[in-house]
């Protein structure tokens, strides 16, 4: 059995699995066996806790395994199951999404393929991975941003293994649709939905500017630079010069009288 350090240290009713790292009002929480209260930044998130956001509320949760969950307005979730052993980085995570939208950004557990999100229409297994999931009266919508996402319900199983593809699931008994490319408009919509609106501050006021340093700008440093895929490092000159080297080695061995002036190329 996997038991995290936090689980050992705390009573079973208050097992901290994460922290509310950003909260825009009004967002509410219902810990197990307790009354519903307003969620605030820094609140400990515990096993079996329910979180609900109003039309203006958004939340970000950070879990012990370094995964994060951004929760959109009008969303209800339940931290169904969370077990994490920080020493072996093993365990499992299960979040139920009843309605609304969320973005899960993977941590240690999803890297082991041990993160799942359940909706009324599908069970979504996450390996990797980063995913946006919505659920409303039209069903569940799953967008893969990174990793391998396995969508399973009573109608079958579909895997999304490429970023930028989405699958729609009408209900539990209807087979999931085939992966389709996401549109730019959908991405823009969810980026706006899953963070603060202008004028909101996630419960932490005062952040005005940020100086990170651009990748490659003189005098500044950043670790966050785009990958550099293998590119051809010459324009053919190297191959051409190698042919010339060989040809010259051959030519050097020829005796001078072997050629006449007429044989020289005319320019």
């Amino acid at each position: 059995m996997l038991i995290g350090t936090a689980l050992i240290a705390a009573p079973a009713t208050a097992q901290q699995v994460g922290t509310a790292t950003a909260v825009n009002p009004l967002s509410e929480t219902t810990p197990p066996g307790a009354a519903t209260v307003a969620l605030t930044v820094g609140a400990r998130i515990v096993h079996k806790e329910r979180i609900h956001t109003t039309p203006t509320g958004t939340v970000q949760l950070a879990f012990l395994d370094k995964s994060t969950l951004s929760i959109a307005p009008n969303t209800s979730i339940l931290i169904d199951d969370y077990v994490y052993d920080p020493n072996s980085s093993t365990g499992h995570l299960l979040v139920s999404l009843t309605e609304g939208a969320l973005r899960f950004v993977g941590g240690e557990l999803s890297h082991q393929g041990q993160a799942s999100i359940a909706t009324p229409a599908a069970a979504i297994g996450i390996r990797g991975g980063t995913v946006t999931i919505t659920h409303d009266k039209n069903g569940t919508h799953v967008i893969n941003h990174f990793g391998v996402i396995t969508i399973h319900n009573g109608g079958g199983t579909v895997v999304i293994s490429r970023p930028g593809f989405e699958v729609t699931i009408m209900n539990w008994n209807t087979p999931p649709g085939q992966p389709e490319r996401i549109t730019a408009a959908e991405i823009t919509h969810y980026l706006e939905l899953l963070t603060s609106k202008r004028g909101q501050n996630g419960g932490v006021p005062g952040l005005k500017t940020i100086a990170i340093g651009a990748c490659g700008i003189l005098g500044l440093q950043s670790t966050n630079c785009p990958n550099t895929p293998w590119i051809a490092t010459d324009n053919g000159e190297s191959d051409a010069f190698q042919l010339i080297i060989q040809a010259t080695q051959l030519g050097t061995g020829q005796t001078q009288h072997a050629m006449t002036p007429r044989q020289r190329p005319i320019r």
Binding site: I187, G202, T209, I217, T223, Q256
Partner: protein, 455 residues
């Protein structure tokens, strides 16, 4: 370092801490290339162990903005998703910061999540606080992303320029060969000359849009150089490559794919057909940590043709087999490394021309911009070493000695942005061959410059 002002908080990354993290991150990938046995995943595990005090700080004190930024910056070096979580946390605190949106765009770009990257870059461009440099870089990356998201992708370059070489034909110095006591053709001795050169490259990728990421790839590369005086070294080269690339879903290796391909090459030398080759190869691509690896095996049937200047060329015909490992990855701010380690065996019709060659080359492209101007300059130091081991003595050179040569080469290139997609490329290179046969020893210093158009 963090500073607090009356009207809010300004955050700044501890650059030294980040740099040390980056260097540590870069060393593991280099070790992978050299030893081929060390997994870069260890980098992630060790660097971001669960006892990470910065992450513990996020859980305990999420409103400690400086702690969150330091964690985001350090995680960027090896744990991209965790860095995304931290930057998205900062975005909750102020959704109007272009810098945070740009960083998130780069992180998603590094994951290969180009749709998300595009969304963040586009939103960064709409923020009032965006600087000229950031706008330029975001627009540059958006151009690349737009290309990557097309089912049919074209890219390439065209280049022209002038080059001066102290030894245009890579010939031996006359003193060395005279000392050997043998008679050689002096027109192939070391001589300086100018040339005009032109080159182009065209790459095509068709994305089948399936979940494996299968594609079809084709490329063409052309090069032509016309000497001002030494026309026996006028050369033209054309090469085509094409083949399907099959994605391989893997839990442990990111971006794994395999590509069989065909290759066809032709060359003219001194205005006469000189060489053609046809063959095939197999290459694998894998991302291990921050390192991209591209090992390949290639076999080419080579045909050399005798000509007026090169009446012995046909003896070089035969089979060339190459086994190589290419790799690339980041080093530090804006600097990357690329490397190729190769072994090739040529089995030629005329036995003494057959050879084995071992080669290693390293490139260190460094992209930088000047403050106030987001355009990217690229400085690329290069170095390489090859060891040539011939099978038998060449009777036309020295019937008593089996040639052994070591070639080393160093260079430095500077790519200067001029206007839009046009840059001015300059290159300074030095090569030297040291051989036990005087006729094979040479050295050459070359300098070249000319405009390049990239698309």
């Amino acid at each position: 370092m963090a500073a607090t002002s009356d009207d809010g908080v300004t955050l700044q990354v501890d650059a030294r801490r980040v740099f040390r993290k980056r260097i540590a991150g870069a060393l593991a990938p280099i070790a992978i290339l050299v030893f081929s046995a060390i997994s870069a995943s260890a980098q992630t595990a060790s660097d971001f162990a669960n006892a990470n005090p910065l992450f513990q700080g996020i859980l305990a004190r999420p409103s400690d903005l400086n702690n969150t930024l330091q964690y985001a910056a350090s995680a960027s070096a090896g744990n991209i998703e965790s860095a995304i979580g931290a930057y998205e946390q900062l975005l909750f605190y102020n959704p109007t910061l272009s810098r945070v949106r740009f960083e998130l765009g780069v992180l998603y770009y590094r994951l290969g999540s180009y749709d998300m990257a595009r969304g963040y870059f586009q939103s960064a461009l709409q923020m009032r606080d965006i600087s000229t440099e950031l706008r330029q870089r975001a627009e540059d990356l958006l151009t690349i992303i737009d290309k990557k998201l097309q089912p049919d992708q074209f890219s390439g370059f065209a280049q022209t320029g002038l080059r001066y070489q102290t030894n245009a034909g890579a010939g031996p110095g006359p003193q060395g060969v005279l000392a050997s006591g043998r008679t050689f053709d002096s027109r192939f001795f070391s001589q300086g000359d100018w040339n005009w050169f032109g080159a182009f490259g065209l790459n095509y990728v068709h994305d089948f849009e399936d979940q494996n990421g299968d594609t079809f790839e084709a490329s063409a590369l052309g090069y032509d150089a016309q000497q001002f005086k030494l026309h026996q070294f006028d050369i033209g080269l054309l090469e085509f490559r094409a083949g399907p690339r099959f994605g391989i879903p893997s839990d442990s290796v990111n971006g794994l794919s395999i590509k069989p391909y065909v290759v066809a090459t032709g060359a003219v030398l001194a205005d006469a057909p000189y060489y053609d080759g046809i063959g095939g190869g197999l290459t694998v691509h894998a991302n291990v940590g921050n390192v991209a690896l591209d090992p390949y095996v290639e076999v080419v049937q080579q045909s050399f043709h005798n000509s007026t200047f090169y009446p012995l060329a046909a003896g070089l015909s035969g089979t060339l087999s190459t086994y190589a490992l290419q790799g690339s990855g980041p080093v530090a701010s804006g600097m990357a490394w690329q490397s190729r380690v190769a072994f090739a065996h040529a089995s030629d019709n005329f036995g003494p021309y057959s050879y084995d060659v071992y080669a290693v080359d390293v490139w260190l492209p460094w992209n930088f911009s000047f403050p106030g101007d987001g355009r990217i300059w690229t400085l690329t130091p290069t170095a390489g070493l090859s060891s040539w081991l011939y099978n038998a003595p060449d009777p036309t050179i020295d019937p008593a000695i089996t040639p052994r040569s070591t070639e080393w080469r160093v260079g430095i290139g500077l790519d200067i942005p001029v206007w839009k997609q046009i840059t001015l490329g300059t290159l300074l290179q030095y090569r030297a061959d040291v051989s036990n046969v005087a006729a094979f020893s040479m050295h050459d210093l070359s300098v070249s410059a000319g405009p390049t158009f990239k698309f």
